[in-house]
Amino acid sequence: MQSINPADTAWLLVATALVLLMTPALAFFYGGLVRNKNSLNTMMMSFVALGVVGLTWAVAGYSLAFSEGGPLLGGLTYLGLQGVGTEAKGTIPHVLFMTYQATFAIITAALISGAVVERMRFGPYLAFIALWTLLVYAPVAHWVWGGGWLMSRGVLDFAGGTVVHINAGVSALVAALVLGSRKDYGRQAVLPHNVPFTLLGAGLLWFGWFGFNGGSALAANGLAGLAFSNTFLAPTAALVAWTLLDYFRTGRATAVGAATGIVVGLVAITPAAGFVSPGSALLVGAIATLPSYFAIALRSRTRIDDSLDVFAGHGVGGLTGALLTGVLAQKAWNSGGSDGLLYGNFSQLGLQALGCVSAALYTAVTTFVILKALALVTSLRALPRTEGIGMDVSQHGEEAYASGEGSILLPPETALVPEPVPALRPQVASS
């Protein structure tokens, strides 16, 4: 039994806060990409995961993922956080480890929302992310990190390429297919309403990702330094590669492309961060842009309305990163890891592929079942009319950019029971 190490604990305290920040960052990234009338709803889909998924995680998710159990699922030992105290888990307090993992569960669920924005009703979405956390995220996290079957076979996933990104990306694709496309999709131009938001979001995601990957060393040591540096290096290469692709394909470097390039670089280095050399990290970032870039181009020509390209960014990016980990991993950089294909170990790539395929299959089927089950109880989608008005007003009773022009203040007592009467009645001349 190890004891608590103050330096490790200090770093993980900071890293946890950094990863938590990634969810509001995602809200900005996604919020900028949708239309004005759906921007609050889109941002709320990320923000609300802080509550719903965080709570679900504390009540049951953490136990299912990280308590002693079978190869497929953890047990119920930590249900309601019983037994999760300040004792050492590794070299940090157990309760801090639980909180650190909670921030991962939150952002993973929030990532899926990008595929269903501008049409999914908010209530069913809340139910979906709660169920998804228990039935999809917790089991897959157990497989890879909690002592489950992929972990015992030696699949490498440093900070969540499979658990977080393939998982979210595949779920997003399934959710987009189950919900169907937006009514305007493919019929009229649906443009980002605030590209600066998207750039802000990408910047904050990068910042938070230092906690995501650097913190996944679960210690303040050389490995954390390697993962942290690789988290800096891979997106630099990805950003340059994406910009060059933009130049070659369209003659212009786009801002949305730059933001996407950063995120794809971050996604791809996530599984590899603590297993590959800094040089390999640059390579991972640069190579990963190609499949994602063309996945986006291809997807937008189909009827599949994965609205913010969660699959192309996170699914494809995560897959590329997981496979490249099997090629570029080096024991020389992390003795706890393995050598990859390039360093003479041919089996690691197969293991990586096994991890990707099994997680993707399980996630796809379970997500499909959850959504279809919810659809039996309630409708997942807003009516076309409601979609036209926009999800901000219809789901939240607010606008992102309300001017107040033409609005009448209601006295508090009438405000509680708004009567559905026409606002301007036909004017009758008084006698």
Binding site: S407, I408, A423
Partner: protein
Amino acid sequence: MKLIVAIIRPDRLNEVLEALYRSEVRGLTVSRVLGHGGETERVETYRGTTVKVDLQEKVRLEIGVSEPFVQPTVDAILAGARTGEVGDGKIFVLDVAQVYRIRTGERNEAAVTPPEVEHATE
């Protein structure tokens, strides 16, 4: 020669533009306006302050057309803008005293006939 003014829902603009394009109506002006057509009120709440949004965003189209295009234009707007619910908007058809095309100084019918149609009839 008429001026057709239509007030429509913003989210129907694309359908209306498509319908107008199919009817070969080319020149038009679009503006964002606020208005109210008797639709059900919308209530919004901000930090305990509840407001009734009386004026809703609408889009105003202004289209100057020659007589043969009046009915096709009206039909296109009706088809594109109708949802069947209160608040779909209005179409006004107004007489116009005179029209000038600024580029050429042409008047009236010639001023509201698209150039390519002129060539076709020459």
